[in-house]
């Protein structure tokens, strides 16, 4: 007869083995590695919480200390692989297989480890795609997570960086897995319960607070005139044209420039209250001037941002906060919001090809996807309408057919030349060469061309919704690709014809004067200005201070 409770039995065995190293649920930091040895078995699927920002760094260093002879062939299933310890697990032979979403600072190390055969790669996912698989075929056996504090019953306060934690814990705890939390402090009573104690098996007070990476701070002092020009083009040619009220911004300088232009150039265009009122967005400091000027109704956040806590706590009408007063973020919910409830995604990329496919992969770096492919895609399951969504859909359909559904605006902003004068427009994405080298069945593409609706460069806008065939798309892209080899190889007659059709719009077609594009147009020109706008509530990390 089949045993239907093997997982529960297995869990009980492991919990019993770990019990001597714990006092109830509380495990001393010195015992953490021994406890992990009892709880984790070779071949387990392990989620070692590495979110976009928050890192279970202490538990990661403990796991890296186990003997690979005892524990090996782990299958790591986590969204962010961003700490050196994460890679150590593979280098030391403790872990073997990897399914992840984002690697940021470890993108070079991952590419090398893949090339050397140290990592067996499952797939590079988007965030919600990986989260979805936690509930289908990548359910963790053990989750090692991070929070600000916990009580002795395991009730967990994540702090503003809730991020992925509830999603990981739900999948693990309700499928007979073991959940271990590192916290900065064990307390008598937590400020709010983000994860109920009965989903947490062990808590460890880490010797130092968990690491949080400031990812979304863009110094207004580094915004260039070209980025300001692109922001003006986007505001006039896309925001004023389609009036998207609900949106997500990427994290580059071009979108930071838009945020800083809302209270100045956007105000002049009469757009306040008409666009960009509701957001799925990380806490961008550069949005502070627009918030303070009354542009923004509300913002739901994927994660938090270093230095923004006091400001957000003081603006609970705008941000989601708990009864304790601090931000509650949630990556799964916010990604879902960006996918289904936003009319526009606008963000930057590194490379775009002639079909509009884009990628951030270079031959020696695999940065992963994060959330961009979901933010930057048209959700075919969407059934509610908005003016912006319908207008985009009608442009794509060319007015034909009785059943015209809408389209999400997916806007790529790229400077024609990137760092080191590397052209952003290419005949073939570098990710294809990488895929050939590593024998990947699917080349990593951030956003596929058929999802992209507009490309904005300093030369103007290419509206791909109005393109009727592949040749239109290619010439529209060449037509805004500036002096890159791809841009110089344009068919000038075809590009001019596309301009007549409104597929390509130059600054002069939009009434945007490039001479106006200078830093005087920014609502804040420095980090210090942002602090002033926030009434002193924003406290930037030291690396962004020069006072």
């Amino acid at each position: 007869m089949r045993d239907w409770t093997r997982q529960k039995t297995e869990r009980a065995t492991r919990m019993d083995a770990a019990a001597p190293f714990a006092d109830g649920k509380v495990v001393a930091a010195d015992n953490a590695t021994d406890m992990l040895r009892r709880v984790i078995k070779s071949g387990d699927r392990v989620c070692l919480e590495g979110d976009n920002q928050k890192q279970a760094d202490f538990l990661a260093s403990c796991l890296a200390q186990v003997d690979p002879a005892d524990i090996h062939d782990l299958h790591i299933v986590q969204s962010g692989l961003v700490l050196p310890e994460h890679l150590d697990l593979f280098r030391l032979g403790i872990a073997k297989k990897l399914d992840f979403s984002y690697s940021g600072p470890q993108s070079g190390a991952i590419a090398r480890a893949l090339d050397q055969g140290k990592i067996e790669l499952g797939a590079i996912h988007t965030y919600i795609e990986l989260f979805a698989r936690y509930y289908v075929d990548l359910t963790p056996n053990v989750a090692l997570i991070a929070g600000v504090c916990a009580d002795r019953d395991g009730n967990l306060y994540t702090g503003p960086n809730t991020e992925d934690t509830p999603t990981i814990v739900e999948a693990t705890a309700y499928k007979s897995g073991v959940v271990i939390a590192q916290v900065n402090k064990i307390v008598d009573k937590v400020p709010r319960v983000d994860i109920p104690g009965d989903q947490i098996d062990f808590v460890v007070e880490a010797p130092r607070p968990f690491y949080v990476e400031p990812l979304f701070t863009r110094d207004p002092g580094a915004v260039t005139d070209s980025q300001i020009l692109m922001a003006m083009i986007a505001l006039k040619g896309i925001y004023a044209e389609y009036r998207p009220k609900r949106l997500n911004h990427g994290i580059g300088f071009a979108t930071a420039a838009i945020e800083l232009l809302l209270p100045t150039y956007g105000e002049k265009l009469g757009l306040r209250g008409e666009v960009a009122t509701h957001w799925a967005l990380n806490p961008h400091p550069t949005l502070i001037p627009a918030i303070e000027s009354g542009w923004v109704e509300q913002i739901h956040c994927f994660g938090s941002e270093v230095g923004m806590d006091r400001y957000m706590s003081a603006r609970p009408d705008v941000y989601f906060t708990g009864k304790d007063g601090t931000l509650r973020s949630n990556r799964l919910m916010c990604q879902n919001a960006g996918l289904y409830a936003c009319d526009m995604f606008i963000g930057s990329t590194l490379q775009i090809d002639l079909a509009g496919n884009s990628s951030t992969v270079t031959p020696d770096r695999i940065a992963g996807f994060g959330g961009a492919p979901n933010m930057g895609s048209d959700a075919h399951g969407r059934r509610h309408v908005s003016d912006a969504w319908l207008k985009a859909g009608r442009e794509a359909a060319g007015g034909a057919g009785p059943l015209v559904r809408g389209r999400k605006l997916v806007v790529q902003m790229v400077e024609t030349f990137g760092e080191g004068m590397k052209p952003a427009f290419v005949e073939e994405l570098d990710s294809l060469a990488l895929a050939r080298k590593l024998n990947m069945e699917l080349a990593p593409v951030m956003i596929f061309g058929d999802d992209v609706t507009h490309i904005v460069t300093e030369e103007g806008i290419a509206n791909l919704l109005l393109c009727r065939n592949a040749d239109d798309v290619e010439q529209a892209i060449r037509g805004v690709a500036g002096y890159t080899p791809v841009g110089m190889a344009r068919d000038r007659a075809k590009v001019e014809a596309l301009r007549q059709r409104g597929v390509i719009r130059r600054p002069e077609d939009l009434g945007v004067d490039p001479m106006e594009a200078n830093r005087n147009l920014l609502a804040a020109r420095s980090i210090r200005d942002l602090v002033t706008w926030s009434d002193g509530l924003y406290s930037p990390p030291s690396k962004f201070r020069n006072w």
Binding site: T224, D225, S226, L229, E415, T416, F417, M421, E458, E459, G482, Y483, M488, P514, M515, A517
Partner: protein, 104 residues
């Protein structure tokens, strides 16, 4: 460092009477342009000193488009470039002629 000179013919002489103007800064990713009304009629001369080698074809394309878009006849441009991207070059050239044009 690479230096070269590009010559072109504009449609018309640049309006205004300003003799000399300077725009931009010599900073990384930026450039400085000195404009002098020293050439005859519709002649345009652009002296380029650039830190980035191998981009002469791009400079020629940028200057050709600029001369078509603007009409800077009679002007000599001396450019000190520190790796500015082509769009920044175009912007500074446009700013320069505007300044020279509107100078008393």
């Amino acid at each position: 460092m690479e230096t070269f000179t590009i010559r072109a013919r504009a449609r018309a002489p640049l309006p205004g009477t300003g003799r000399q103007a300077i725009v931009g800064v010599v900073a990384s990713g930026n450039l400085e342009i000195l404009l002098e009304r020293s050439e005859t009629d519709n002649d345009v001369v652009v002296d380029v000193a650039t830190s980035a080698r191998g981009f002469r074809a791009v400079w020629e394309a940028v200057v050709a488009d600029f001369v078509t878009r603007s009409s800077p006849g009679g002007v000599r441009f001396s450019i000190h470039d520190n790796g500015a991207r082509p769009d920044t070059v175009t912007l500074r050239l446009l700013q320069g002629v505007k300044l020279l044009e509107t100078q008393p």
